[in-house]
Each structure stands twice: as structure tokens, then as C-alpha cells.
Symmetry: C2
Subunit: 154 residues, 2 copies
Amino acid sequence: MTDIDKIDRKILSILQADGRIANVELAERIGLSPTSIGERLKRLQRDGFVEGYGARLNPHRLGLGLLVFVEVMLDKTTPDVFERFAKAVQTAPEVLECHMVAGGFDYLVKARVADMTAYRRFLGESLLALPGVRETRTYAVMEEVKRDAPLPVG
Amino acid sequence: MTDIDKIDRKILSILQADGRIANVELAERIGLSPTSIGERLKRLQRDGFVEGYGARLNPHRLGLGLLVFVEVMLDKTTPDVFERFAKAVQTAPEVLECHMVAGGFDYLVKARVADMTAYRRFLGESLLALPGVRETRTYAVMEEVKRDAPLPVG
DNA sequence: TTATTGGCCGGATAAATGACTGATATTGAC
DNA sequence: GTCAATATCAGTCATTTATCCGGCCAATAA
């Protein structure tokens, strides 16, 4: 149920890189029969190791050339600021990730927008418009050194 | 070559959520024939909108329970510190993302490890071992509010 | 008008898939 | 060593899928 062997890890590793690989090819790359691989993959999906499959899109090609990270500090006066902020973040399409962190600020937001103009609009109309947001610090990404790396399963 | 219409965006949107969807189902969800969808998708891949497909894995299930962000400041004394750091980051499996940012520090690193013990090892043996690393600030994620959101293609 | 281009469609073929079967290791407990 | 449980394998078969091909239609340009 929760244990996973070397072959499973290999399956996951290959599937991370190519989620659309055919079962037969996956099988012969690993050196087992397609039946076994199919059963293993089914189990991996049932047990929650594989949550789904998705296409990797090129953000720049889609006009989302600017990646920004925003540190957000909240007013801890009202008790439900955290919930309300978390909820609002879910609906904002620009926000790709949002994490509550321990340290100097409360939330770290990762967002993608077209350019600086779009970012200023997003900041003003989405982030700062939220109640309880006391302060934000923006870091614009100049160069994406490493992006979308696979999880280390091996 | 570079233009993209509403149907294309719909294709990309669906494929982001389910990268393994069959062409026929994709076609009937959109309302076109499988042939057309196939041709469009082929074009989208050829023109670089779709870079690939991948399985979405559950990091917690794989024993990677701790997500951390690390702000890294470099010594700008040697001219090639940036290149060397960027290169080293590529080979570190714990590092999922690394971005050069404008602002108070130089690099923002996103990494996944098993726990705090593993993180301390990673910090000491990987990050701080790199020449030119002057200072780091670590932010451990307490709660992942939003994770792996799709790019806003619509 | 005529030709051309691009997008869409439907048919046909070859491949892959999923679901089953039964046989054969391999493993671990007793 | 024996036994049961598990995993793998090969094989079959119906179904689904991807892809190629030719033809259709509308918009555009000559």
C-alpha cells in the first residue's frame, strides 16, 4: 500500500519525463512485460503516487513572459484573514503557487503574467485588494535557471 | 506559426488538466472531429506551445514532505560565480526550481526534501558547499495553499 | 471566374489498450 | 522442506485509439 520498489520508481521517473508513453514501450524500456507494468501503474495510481497527467506548456509562447515571486505579510487582527486570503488566491489565475511559510513573512506567491504592466494590475487589483494584506515584496525573475524539474524518485 | 485561436486555447487548457486524454474524447469535448484536433495538437507541439507531457506525482507519498524556499546571496568577487552556481543547481536533484531574481538577493531556490534533517544535509553539503555562496535564508513551507496550478491559457 | 489555400470531415488501417486466462517463478512464513 | 501468497509472464480477444488519405467547403487572391 505504501511501499514502493525500484521498478516502481523507474516507472514514475519515466512517466514524469514522458507522461504519454505507451505501456508497451514503458515495459520494454524497463524490461518487464506490459501486463506487469500495467498492473504496477494501476496500483501506483490507486495508491495516490500518481495524481494525474498534464501537458507541459511553454509560458513564454503563451504570452506569459514575466515570472514573479511575491512575499505577502498579513494583518493578524481579524481571525479569518488567512482563510480569506487562501481562498482568494485559489481563484486568481495568475497565481501558480501559494505557500504559507515560517519566517519573515506569511505567504509566498508565485505568479505568471504577461509583463510589468500586467503585474502592476494584478498586484493592485488582486493582491492588494484583499483585506488583511499589510505589505508585499515583489521579486521579478530575470532568468529561470531551473524550471519544472522532476521530483527525485530514484 | 505564432497565433493561436480560441479552440487551440481550449485544447491546451484541457491537456493541462488531463494530459492523457484520448484524442476522440478531446475532440467531442470541444466539438470538432478527432482529425482536426489531431492536426491542431500536432501544430501546437511543433510550434513549441506544448513542450511535453508528464505525470503529476504526489511528493508526500514519495517521502518528500518538506518544501523549502531558499534565498541565496552570492559573492560577486569572482566573475564566474553565477555560471558555476547555475550549473551546480542543475545537478542537484532536490532543487526543483531556481530563479535569478532582481531585488534583495540573487537566487531563489525551491527544493523538496524528506524532512528537516535532510534539509540540513542538503544545505550544508550542496548549497553552502558551492563556492561564492555568501548567505542563505531559508523559508520552510508550513502549508501548500496552491500547488501546480495550470497556466492561464483561456 | 478560377485557382489556391487552409481548415474540417469521414473512412480505413494498423497499433495500442484493457480484461481476462492459466502457467510459472519467487518470496516469506511456518 | 512445505505451503501459501504474490508477482510475473505469455497469450487471446474485443474495443479503442492514432494516423494517414482523399474529398469537401469556404475564404482569399489572381
